[in-house]
């Protein structure tokens, strides 16, 4: 009885310290990635290749989900606004909720599960098949050659994908609100333009998606690099990428929103 309690306590302590150890290792890894990114930006072809795999191949899912999210916002927003007789504000509602929140956050969640998991699996498999060790043997730094281009590819792709998501969503809201339901087109656009501010709303949304891009790419490359070099280890690392980066995105979103959109 006493022994069991002791063991549970020891387990708990071990779990906590291992988490902290991993966090420290991840931070050191992040710094190393930044320091070694000279190669990624110097040999730009490597990064362009990664932009293709993370950005271009995520286009379809981002565009289609953006369209549907915008259409749902149009329907739901119209329903609620109609109660107050101010359906002309539909454009404002759709655009503000997309540009400020849904665009960056939903695009980042999709990006984490579409591209982040792929990056982790790829690097994890490279580690499992000892390609990373082989590179080290040839005096090629795997962080500079493999990790940094993937990291920067993700960071560059994310804001572009979020902007596309928002633009597509606003188009979806326009389709449903104006074409389907029949909200006045002039007031839809003019009220939107009157209340969406470039610096306050759009630029802050871009900053958000940039931060999310860093978070997702960092988690993805780290989990891949730190994965246990077995098939089981890689699958576990892929799952952890999606879970960790989704939680980190939502937490970071709260913090950023608290900074950006309070007051006035």
């Amino acid at each position: 009885m006493d022994n069991g309690l002791l063991r549970a306590l020891r387990n708990l302590g071990q779990r906590v310290t291992s988490r902290i150890w991993r966090l420290g290792y991840a931070s050191r890894f992040f710094l190393a990635t930044i320091l070694h990114s000279g190669t990624a930006l110097g040999r730009i072809n490597l990064t362009i290749r990664e932009i293709y795999f993370t950005g271009v191949l995520s286009l379809i899912i981002i565009l289609v989900s953006g369209l549907f999210v915008g259409m749902v916002l149009g329907l739901q927003g119209y329903d609620t606004l109609a109660r107050y007789g101010s359906t002309e504000a539909l454009g404002v509602l759709v655009s503000l909720s997309l540009v400020r929140e849904l665009g960056p956050v939903v695009a980042a969640l999709l990006f984490a599960s579409r591209a982040g998991s792929a990056i982790t699996a790829e690097i994890g498999m490279m580690k499992a098949t000892e390609q990373l060790s082989a590179m080290e043997m040839m005096a090629v730094d795997p962080i500079a050659r493999v990790v940094a281009p993937r990291f920067w590819g993700g960071v560059i792709s994310m804001p572009l994908l979020a902007a596309l998501f928002s633009a597509m969503g606003i188009f979806g809201g326009y389709l449903v609100g104006v074409q389907l339901i029949g909200v006045d087109e002039g007031s839809f656009w003019s009220q939107m333009q009157a209340s969406v501010d470039f610096r306050q709303d759009i630029l802050n949304g871009v900053i958000k998606s940039f931060v999310f891009g860093i978070i997702v790419s960092w988690v993805a490359v780290f989990e891949g690099y730190d994965a246990e070099p077995t098939a089981e280890g890689v699958s576990g690392a892929t799952t952890r990428t999606v879970v960790t980066s989704s939680l980190a995105i939502l937490a970071a979103d709260f913090i950023l929103t608290a900074f950006m959109f309070t007051g006035t």
Binding site: I51, L160, A163, L164, A167, M192, Q193, V196, I202, V206
Partner: protein, 156 residues
Amino acid sequence: MSRTTLDLWVGFFVAVGLGALLFLALKVGNMASSSSGETYAIQAKFDNIGGLKVRGAVKSAGVVVGRVTDIRFDPEAYLAVVTINVDARYKFPRDTFATINTSGLLGEQYIGFEVGGDTAMLNPGDTIKKTQSAVVLEKLISQFMFNKAAEDGGKK
């Protein structure tokens, strides 16, 4: 996949992404209309600004001519001091009358300029002398109720 096709796709992706950003900036946001051009600042003191907010519009004859940039409380006069940035293209007479209006029944509040007949113009940093406060709906209703009650009382 050969390198050139890949480059083409990435170029397409970046171009479309930047295009979406441009669409957001110009069509959705008010970057095109929010004159980043020259402005000059003037002040106006109000007894009560109601729900006026920073970045609120300033209109004359219904046209947006400026924006509210700052709202402070003057602790000596107990008045609200509103700073307005007016588009440098427009000059207003010294006796311009600033009122706080509401667009629609429950819409946003904005400052309206009613132009006077003075030949001297407002200079940057000047304060508008004549202002009218926001209409507080509750006060209006209570006034109406009291009047109604007084009328009814008189009849009896």
